[in-house]
């Protein structure tokens, strides 16, 4: 039975964190309104490519801004995927007695309430 295609198991966490960090830092670096527009633009370009092509002719700088997010996706997410595929640990089929995972020290959950992670 194929169960290890599931997200997140054994992937290179460095790549994950770098791509995630790039997304977060780029978003944080923008002022609130621009960030909102950026998100809207990403939605626009991905959902309506023809209309966004027309936008390219009218407002090239804004389109460039939109395209940047697409680049992040394909470089960040795609790069991480490539790294996981070719550089990550190789896994064979596993036979486990239990699928339970230990949650670790509960103290960490208490003191960590200040953090979003």
């Amino acid at each position: 039975m194929k169960t290890d295609t599931a997200a997140g198991r054994g992937l290179g966490s460095l790549w994950l964190r770098l791509s995630g960090l790039a997304l977060v830092l780029l978003s944080l670096a923008l002022p609130y309104r621009l960030r909102w527009r950026w998100a809207y633009a990403l939605n626009f370009i991905l959902n309506r490519p023809r209309a966004s092509g027309a936008l390219l002719l009218k407002k090239p700088s804004q389109w460039l801004n939109h395209a940047l997010l697409g680049v992040i996706y394909f470089i960040g997410i795609g790069g991480s995927w490539l790294a996981a595929r070719f550089l990550g640990p190789k896994r064979g089929p596993r036979e486990e007695r239990t699928f339970w995972r230990d949650r670790g020290d509960p103290g960490g959950y208490d003191s960590g309430m200040d953090d979003q992670f």
């Binding site: 997304l23 996706y73 795609g78 509960p106």
Partner: protein, 567 residues
């Protein structure tokens, strides 16, 4: 000390407020916004909670969010990496929302509320666990939480003792009982995060002939109840649909929304339900062996599955069970606040959830003003006993009565304060209610409310069920007397009513019992299909005027559609 817990961003946004460890108010945003399962920022529920406490937002000592957004974002990124490039569709849907507001919860809270104090973040399943254990009457209990997914966790187990709760083991995304249930819900043509209860209802009509398919092909189950999903059957981890082509090739074409329900659909629902029950029983048994405790607290959306809950008490060594009425994500707001107060701040427990009536109340002057302005026929009763007599007579005469009393319920069940009530003895009542009042599928069952002290005469249930979250067998000799609330499999989802928890509803049940010999009423939520349960008398009036309900009783006001009707 004032703590506000909030949940939003996924589904069932809500707010709950604690004053020195006591829950003063809690409500889901959908009731105010009238958007069912609203995920929006719970501005109106927060405003209600602050109003109920008589404070301004900056009087709060803490505001606590019910999950860890960056951990959740990590899971989403990992999922995208793993499913690249197939996850592109999901990415383009999800990422704008994350970049716009989901990654910036503190900023959003401060902008929307003008709040300047401390903001904290609870682990999602710890919030669920706290919402049940810290609200329960138990000093120590095993704890089981299960839902679709929190940050990474889909199911967690552990124990609570005193003012500490400790989740020791977990299962992780995408291996999720909640998502499995949601995938089948979507396959059967119902809405994910809302239609799961319909699947549970449908299960009563079917035979579990596909159970082995689930056990042997779709799930990889261990003796201790831990499991993995075979992701070949699903797409929820990388696309915007829940199930994949392999699921369709195994079970046939999915049912179209509002399409006819076939024998296959009923059997699929029954199979899923039986497998979920069996898994949860195995997990509970293993948890009981590990903790050696006799009491169990359950939370998370899967905890709303009343048939499963019944098996947790009937088929394990647990002797008592507590399921918090807002077991889903709306209860996360309450749990986050309780977790902070007890676990983080170390404060002792001196509050026990006695009832679910934590929402807003309709002021009599407002009801009177509305009725007069809209020229709606009504009578005001100054003697509550006379009002109860009148309503009981109406019910015994086969009339359908809307019932709006006191504070609104927290959680998805109407428990006698925002209810539609009817005579459970009337054989055609289920069809009339489904067709003319609720406007919903004909197979949907209705639940009974019964006097706690008479429960054993009608239902085979040894523990109380104040929040309508346990199914019980209707005693064989009572099934013919209670056709409107007896499911096709001879069971019912029971609400037991104690006088001290809801005196007026208890009084109505008693009067109805005196008149008919049966202290049981059919109790369903005051709403129509697709609408949230009524919050105030305005919502109740809309529901009343747009359906074939006969009478509406709002506070002390007896309301009819035509002058003289019902008398």
């Amino acid at each position: 000390m004032l703590i506000l817990g909030v949940s939003f961003m996924y589904h069932d946004s809500a707010a709950a407020i604690l004053c020195d460890g006591k829950v003063v108010a809690a409500a889901a945003e959908e009731r105010f916004s009238r958007q069912k399962h609203s995920l929006e920022f719970p501005e109106q529920s927060i405003a209600y909670c602050l109003r109920e406490c008589g404070i301004e937002v900056n009087d709060l000592d803490f505001l606590v969010f019910y999950e860890k957004p960056l951990l959740k974002f990590e899971r989403i990124l990992m999922t995208h990496i793993d499913s690249f490039p197939e996850g592109f569709g999901q990415f383009r849907e999800a990422m704008p929302l994350w970049l716009r507001w989901k990654l910036f919860i503190p900023e959003l809270v401060r902008r929307r509320l003008g709040y300047t104090g401390r903001i904290l973040f609870a682990d999602h399943h710890y919030a669920h666990a706290a919402s049940s254990f810290f609200a329960s009457p138990f000093d120590e209990a095993a704890v089981l939480t299960a839902d679709g997914v929190g940050e990474w966790t889909t199911l967690a187990r552990g124990a609570g003792r005193g003012n500490r709760v400790n989740l020791t083991k977990e299962l992780r995304y995408p291996h999720s009982l909640g998502l499995l249930y949601s995938a089948v819900t979507a396959f059967l043509g119902f809405r994910v995060n809302g239609g799961e209860g319909k699947v549970m209802g449908l299960a009563s009509y079917g035979e579990p002939r596909f159970a082995r398919v689930f056990q042997e092909e779709i799930l990889d189950i261990r003796d201790d109840g831990s499991f993995r999903l075979n992701m070949d059957y699903f797409l929820f981890h990388k696309e915007l649909v829940m199930y994949g082509p392999k699921f369709v090739s195994r079970f046939g074409p999915p049912r179209a929304p509002d399409g006819p329900i076939t024998r296959r659909d009923e059997d699929l629902a029954a199979s899923l339900q039986s497998v979920v029950e069996e898994l949860c029983v195995r997990i509970a048994r293993s948890l009981q062996r590990e903790t050696r405790l006799k009491r169990l607290c359950v939370a998370g959306g899967v905890g709303l599955n009343s048939k499963m809950n019944r098996r947790l008490i009937a088929d394990t060594d647990f002797k008592e069970i507590f399921i918090q009425p807002a077991a889903g994500d709306d209860g996360g707001a309450l749990g986050a606040a309780l977790l902070l107060y007890h676990q983080r701040l170390g404060r002792p427990r001196d509050w026990v959830m006695q009832n679910a009536y934590l929402g807003p109340e309709c002021a009599p002057a407002d009801i009177r003003r509305t009725l007069q302005r809209r020229r709606i026929a009504h009578e005001e009763f100054h003697d509550p006993d006379r009002l109860l007599d009148r309503a009981a007579h109406d019910l015994a005469a086969g009339r359908i009565v809307g019932w709006v009393q006191g504070r609104m319920e927290y959680g998805p069940r109407a428990l006698g304060n925002r209810s539609i009530l009817a005579d459970p003895r009337a054989s055609g009542m289920k069809d009339i209610l489904n067709r003319k009042v609720k406007h919903r599928e004909p197979f949907r069952p209705f639940a009974p409310a019964v006097l706690y002290e008479k429960m054993g005469e009608y239902f085979d249930l040894e523990v109380e069920s104040p929040y309508m979250l346990l199914v019980a067998d209707v005693r064989p000799d009572q099934r013919d007397r209670l056709p409107a609330i007896t499911y096709v499999d001879g069971t019912a989802r029971v609400q037991s009513v104690r006088r001290e928890h809801n005196p007026r509803f208890h009084g109505l049940l008693s009067r109805f019992g005196e008149l008919t010999g049966v202290p049981v009423l059919l109790n369903t939520s005051l709403n129509t299909r697709g609408q949230p349960i009524a919050c105030d008398h305005h919502d109740a009036l809309e529901c009343f005027l747009n359906t074939d309900m006969d009478i509406l009783v709002a506070g002390d006001f007896y309301i009819t559609k035509h002058p003289g009707a019902g008398s």
